[in-house]
Symmetry: C2
């Protein structure tokens, strides 16, 4: 019985054609990150389970891929938990490691573990796969690539401004216009919650409002009520989050509404500062707008939060996001390490560029020269020559077996190889080779030493 | 309580300094693979468990990292197997996916699954991490990078020759001399086993002889005897595998010894052909020698096998290997797909180059310009200018907060930033900036527009 050659659901192989485009995009991101003085970092694919658990909320914890203990360690399986249907406890008894869920927690673990060797503010970028046991759908995979840039160890709001400018830089580099950067502030959200009778329910509120796009405002209301918010509170909230207009207008009205919340006013002032400095740039690809419904699910954010939406004519949802966190390294024993990070949804960005046909056409990687195989002596000359071509980076191959010439030429055609070198008896006698241009069909006998010059096209 | 910020054993983070060297090496491999007309491929990090199981021998199966089923699927845990101490069956009841163990089986799965879209012979390279639950030691990790090149769908021995030439090409590119490529042939091994009373024990023999370096010849003898080989058989074997000398001498003597084994003679003839063609090259980095003790543990090899040893002055063991396989895609329902592959042990090659100091010194990635932060107006001018520098790829940053100038300059020194731009009140008044060369200490007021020209160094 043969095994079905499928990949697990929600995962994909990348063929050459796709990879070349992915590598093009990665290179642009990499170059942008580096010009912003972020240094590269790669962390381990799996982490200790204890490193990851409890960082992403209950929902996140469920989506972490755990690695099964191997060998004798499996004997520690806690069957009682299993029988009591405590699958979480059961899984912890047979798993100590888990696959990376994002790049932010590994960064925090790295910073805490290397605090004595790093120069702060520490600016790093990271482009690696992450894994989530999420239900696969369009633009959502179980294995996908994240590209993050973070600045750790400094509170200055200049970093927020840099990050927004990084978005514009990168989207401009890939020619993507009409991107919207939505911005909000966790302290403003706190200020809004403080207007209600439920001052301690900040997390309940952010979890609920974070689902706005999925479940609509009615869904959010329902969840808030189930968490103990009153109708009158919800009305107050709705009146505020519907504020629209220019950043200045929204911030003015918000200042009035949140005048009794110090937290809220702090958030407002920070956004004011950020907007005042954004005028130093002439953004080409992004529009920035305040969205008071933006919450971002992750618990670690404490300041400015952003989410990036692709152009309106492409249905993709968020293609990036980020925010400031004040206590990320705290759980690893390192206090007072404020930082800010942004993340590019690489796979979604790829899909957007692909849909809009924004990948350049000249990034393919094709064999440039095929030496056909006409037997022993022909091959020996070819081997010697091909070695020299390859050393110069000319992509070249020898047809592996001495089959009919027409079949070998057919292979060259299928692979769209532009030049074919023929070394037959006549060529060997004349100490020449025949070079055939596959697109024009022209061919000519030339000296072997002229080959290189002749294929520069 | 804070969490210990360690990575799991046998895994490593890669800091910027290490990554830049790793990326240098990856780029060389990539360029070489591409000049040999291999196209890139990336496969999924995890595969269905059924895809991987049974491909690597019992030992390999044990070293595969399994992923724990999540959610409700965990309820299918087979407690009976657990109680009967059948941990293998138990683990299969709670795991359906596993991490990639090598790049060869995923390739076979990919080729079988995409057989209608691929052009054969299919030449692909792949540089990705693999994971093995192996005991960590020097040069052996649980997560490491493999770099493979394979040609699938053709039997021609020219491929063997190409692969050997690829080794030389790459080691030459990284300036690594004194590499030994050991070569043997599975059919010769079969011929040797056929001389004994244990003609059906080819796998037992290869598994035993594969451990020669670890356990010595006595250890191998012991294992062979435990598998039913007689003393007299072992003497016969020892007399053959100790053959030494030039390839021609070894092959001549071997031909005599294996004259009754058709398989053995086939293997000998193939090696003869390969050596005859290797004369077309002038290898600069590798020496090729026949090693009749070479077996390579993996079961899928059927023809030529090679193993690459680093220079003798570096203790590292194998830094690469490969071989021909005839039936790799068979288990995925695709028959008669002979192929050949080579694999570079990326992490070991890295360690060898590092130990021999063969990484170029000019691959660091450093901030080129730091704008110091002297408050509001200074920052606004800096933000505007830095954006333009970054667009041109100049690595630049602004100091995040307006602290004492000496501290900011200290940061530049620690990060070895060559140029610092100072925009203070005087500079703003004069509509100039001060550019300070940090290595000479020289500084001068220049026009903002002259900045770029002035930092080209």
């Amino acid at each position: 019985m043969s095994i079905n050659p499928n990949t697990p659901k929600g995962t994909r192989d990348y063929s050459s054609e796709v990879l070349l485009k992915r590598n093009y995009l990665k290179k642009i991101l990499q170059k942008a990150f580096e010009s912003f003085a972020f240094e590269p970092l790669e962390t381990t694919s799996f982490e200790k389970l204890s490193t990851l658990t409890g960082k992403y909320g209950d929902e996140g914890d469920r989506l972490i891929f755990k690695i099964l203990n191997s060998g004798e360690k499996l004997k520690k399986a806690d069957l009682n938990s299993f029988k009591e249907n405590d699958l979480k406890k059961f899984s912890f008894s047979i798993s100590e490691k888990a696959l990376r869920y994002d790049l932010t927690v590994p960064l925090a673990r790295y910073v805490a573990g290397n605090q004595n060797d790093l120069i702060f503010p520490f600016r790093r970028y990271q482009m690696q796969n992450v894994w989530r046991a999420d239900r696969p759908q369009h633009g959502r995979f179980q294995e996908f690539c994240q590209c993050d840039a973070d600045i750790v160890g400094v509170k200055s709001l200049l970093q927020e401004i840099e990050m927004i400018s990084l978005f514009d830089h990168i989207f401009n580099d890939v020619n993507l216009k009409g991107v919207t950067v939505k911005i909000n502030h966790r302290k403003i959200i706190e200020g809004i919650v403080n207007l209600t009778e439920n001052k301690n329910k900040l997390v309940d509120y952010t979890v609920a409002i974070d689902k706005l796009e999925k479940v609509g405002i009615e869904g959010v209301e329902k969840e808030l009520i189930s968490k103990g918010f009153r109708e009158s509170d919800i009305d107050k909230i709705k009146n505020i989050i519907k504020l629209e207009g220019s950043p200045e207008i929204i911030l003015d009205e918000l200042e009035d509404a949140l005048k009794d919340s110090n937290k809220g006013l702090e958030g407002i002032n920070e956004l004011r500062y950020i907007f005042s400095k954004l005028n130093c740039f002439e953004f080409k690809s992004i529009n920035i707008k305040i969205d008071l419904t933006l919450a971002r699910g992750l618990n670690y954010y404490t300041g400015t939060i952003v989410e990036v939406m692709g152009p309106e004519n492409v249905k993709m949802g968020s293609i990036g996001g980020g925010g400031r966190y004040d206590d990320l390294t705290n759980s690893f024993g390192l206090k007072n390490m404020s930082g800010i990070g942004v993340s590019f949804g690489f796979d979604r960005l790829y899909l957007v560029l692909d849909e809009l046909d924004l990948f350049p056409i000249n990034i393919n990687l094709n064999t440039e020269v095929l030496f056909v195989n006409l037997g022993n002596e022909s091959v020996e000359i070819a081997l010697n020559k091909i070695n020299k071509l390859r050393l110069k980076g000319v992509i070249s191959e020898i047809y592996p077996s001495n089959i009919k010439l027409s079949k070998q030429l057919n292979y060259a055609n299928k692979k769209k190889i532009p030049f074919v070198v023929i070394i037959g008896d006549e060529e060997i006698k004349n100490k020449k080779i025949t070079l055939k241009n596959m697109s024009t069909g022209e061919q000519a006998q030339i000296l072997l030493s002229q080959l290189e010059k002749s294929i520069i096209y």
